[in-house]
């Protein structure tokens, strides 16, 4: 080798050289293969996750219902007091008419085929549209969870009666209803528009989705301006000394603090000292803001730093003041990156569970919150509650809720990617 180097002559075709090159190409290929295997693993796990969730969850996206006609013109209803009518009897009479004679002993089982909230569903529909009182109206009544499971093939009717949650009489009546063509399985809009309920057939995510929305709104309103202001100060104004070094180190540390700690802090400070309402999206959002803030500061600082100094100089060079250079030029130029970072931070906050559990956002609430002060759940805590519920119907609903959460995450990250590509700058 040494001799070759001195004479400047290298025999590139020699066996040794060729073997060496082959080995190097092989190393190239190996590196490529490692990468492909890694991606295959990552995608594989993702596919398994989404696959199993879809497999257990898809049933929750439809709900078995019975279509029942009720002749309201005959019913004994005082139009001035719709709330006060005996809806229970009205609905039971109508249900009874759907099948032939029902022995008294069977009535209880028969009514349990339908959701126990059927009278309230009918009442609410009529209150929303009193014209229904003039004639016969059709109502779509969800079946109760055991029958829903039966219809979806989750309960084996061939098992001995005492080993399943529907008895023989219920199966028989169900078959009668089905023979009359009253049973249907429409898309389960209730999953999105109902609030939580003790009964799986009525339980939906409306409360959780709006709770998450309010909490994220609070989180955004707090962390976005505070994060940007802090980042601008640290990047553009703060003197570089030991104090700012310590602040910087601590902000980076905060980004790695487990979220449960922020929950405990929220519990002690927001609920304990400030006396803010328990379970409210306000408090949940404040905890999430604490968690998002350091990430946001770090992202914002990095993006401010990446604006070339020539832009700053251009502005200062014609006599722009510091705030003008920052607000007119540097900040707008770093905004796309800041937005991306914010959305990714919010997506993280959306999936965060521990702090919300600690401030009580896992309460059982049957109406969606109308604002940030009302008790509410959030998507991840709703998943947590449902996963803990024994009814069969909640198993599928848990998976469905996870899919809904994942869908929101996908949308948010897609927006982040879109923003990044749309506003990417080239200098």
């Amino acid at each position: 080798m040494a001799a070759q180097a001195i004479t400047g002559h290298v025999d590139w075709k020699s066996d040794a050289m060729q073997a060496r090159r082959r080995a190097r190409y092989a190393a190239d290929r190996r590196l490529q293969i490692y990468g492909m295997v890694a991606i295959f693993f990552a995608l594989g796990f993702l596919a398994i996750l989404v696959g199993t969730l879809s497999f257990t969850g898809y049933r929750a996206f439809v709900q078995t219902t019975a279509t029942v006609e009720i002749d309201l013109s005959q019913a004994d209803i005082d139009r001035g007091d719709l709330m006060g009518a005996n809806w229970r009897n009205i609905v039971r009479d109508a249900l009874r008419q759907q099948v032939g004679d029902i022995p008294r002993s069977d009535q209880r089982d028969y009514f349990n085929i339908f959701t126990s909230s059927a009278p309230f569903l009918v009442r609410d529909k009529v209150i929303a549209d009193p014209d229904l009182l003039d004639g016969t109206a059709r109502f779509s009544i969800p079946l109760s969870d055991p029958l829903d499971q039966l219809a979806k093939g989750q309960i084996n009717p061939d098992l001995p009666e005492n080993q399943r949650r529907v008895n023989d009489r219920q199966i028989e009546y169900f078959n009668q209803l089905q023979a009359k063509g009253l049973i249907a399985q429409p898309f389960n809009w209730g999953l999105f528009f109902n609030a939580d309920s003790r009964f799986p057939e009525l339980a939906g995510l409306a409360g959780a989705i709006s709770g998450s929305f309010w909490a994220l709104l609070v989180c955004f309103v707090i962390s976005f301006p505070v994060g940007i202001a802090a980042a601008i100060y640290l990047e553009e104004f703060a003197p570089k000394n030991r104090l700012t070094d310590i602040i910087e180190i601590n902000i980076n540390n905060l980004a790695a603090v487990p979220s449960v700690v922020f929950g405990l802090l929220g519990l002690a400070v927001f609920l304990g000292w400030f006396g803010l309402p328990r379970s409210a999206p306000l408090v949940g959002g404040m905890c999430l803001a604490l968690m998002t803030l350091p990430t946001l500061i770090i992202v914002t600082r990095a993006s401010l730093k990446s604006v070339p100094s020539s832009i700053r100089e251009a502005a200062l060079g014609i006599g722009a003041s510091k705030h003008e250079a920052i607000l007119h030029h540097i900040l707008p130029l770093s905004m796309p990156t800041i937005m991306t970072g914010t959305i990714i931070g919010l997506a993280q906050a959306l999936g965060e569970t521990a702090p919300l559990l600690l401030v009580g956002m896992n309460a059982f609430i049957t109406s969606p919150p109308a604002g940030i002060f009302e008790a509410s759940t959030a998507l991840p805590t709703q998943i947590y509650i449902w996963a803990d519920s024994p009814e069969r119907g909640f198993v599928a609903r848990t998976s469905a809720a996870i899919l809904v959460l994942l869908a929101f995450l996908v949308v948010m990250n897609a927006i982040a990617i879109f923003l990044r590509q749309r506003f990417e700058r080239r200098w």
Partner: protein, 271 residues
């Protein structure tokens, strides 16, 4: 192209012998970067409505001196300026001085064209707007037009004022930056190698421009081109290793310098 014709020399001699007023004055200027000294006691006067060229080998402190004139050095971490620099007799490093006003009066054009990634119009209009120079839109339009006119760019861009400034050619971008600097009506324009990124044609245009601007503005220009210094400037200052070696009328500096280092540098023996 050759501006050192007899007539031009005549004219230059005339304009320098006219004892112009001193616009800016550096007295015993020293600059340290993180404790390391980059300028040693520079004394230099910048006469009004003339072009002063700063020449010297790379790293000798030309940019450093230029940037201390309008306090652009303030933006550099660890940079400390000593001595005294005055604008119309007022110390620019006086803590009571308004830096924004100073930079509006002493504008700067940088080595690399740095238009904002905004429209051509916005680039020029930005300065007048933040300083509140224009009272209304039509005045602003006028300022933009006349600035681009003075920067010899108007005819090339008048139909595309809304296109991004970054889409212009290098030479056009530099003239846009000059227009942007002129638009705030500065008294002094500092130029740090404004032509180093330009081709000869664009360079010639910028040089012509500098010569015209001299009527209304005081100009300090850093250049590595001896020809350029000779062509556009009335006074020349020679820097070396952080010291001001010599300064004087350009034609004297280029024909009969006092210092041997100046002579060596001008004739290309080092640098």
């Amino acid at each position: 192209m050759n501006m050192l014709t007899d007539a031009a020399v005549e004219q230059k001699l005339h304009s320098t012998s006219n004892e112009a007023a001193i616009k800016m004055r550096g007295k015993d200027v020293t600059v340290h970067y993180n404790g390391k000294q980059a300028l040693f006691g520079v004394n230099l006067d910048v006469p009004e409505q003339q072009v002063t060229a700063l020449i010297g080998p790379s790293g000798c402190g030309k940019s450093t001196f230029l940037r201390s004139l309008n306090r652009m050095n303030d933006t550099i971490e660890g940079c400390r300026v000593g001595g005294e620099i005055t604008l119309d007799g007022d110390d620019v490093y006086d803590p009571r001085i308004d830096v924004v006003e100073l930079r509006a009066r002493v504008g700067m054009v940088f080595q690399k064209p740095n238009p904002f990634p905004k429209s051509i119009y916005e680039n020029v209009a930005y300065g007048p707007r933040i300083h509140g120079i224009a009272r209304n839109k039509s005045e602003l339009d006028q300022i933009v037009e006349s600035s681009l006119e003075k920067a010899a760019l108007w005819s090339e861009v008048k139909d595309r004022l809304n296109e991004p400034g970054t889409g212009l050619s290098g030479g056009q971008q530099q003239r846009l930056c000059i227009a942007r600097a002129i638009a705030v009506s500065p008294e002094v324009i500092l130029m740090d190698e404004p032509c180093s990124a330009l081709d000869p044609i664009a360079t010639a245009k910028v040089e012509e421009l500098i010569d015209e601007l001299r009527e209304n503005y005081t100009i300090v220009i850093v250049t590595h081109s001896m020809q350029q210094a000779a062509r556009v400037s009335q006074r020349t200052a020679m820097f070396h290793l952080g010291y001001l070696v010599e300064e004087g009328a350009t034609d004297k500096m280029f024909t009969n310098p006092d210092d041997k280092r100046t002579q060596d540098y001008i004739t290309g023996r080092f640098g």
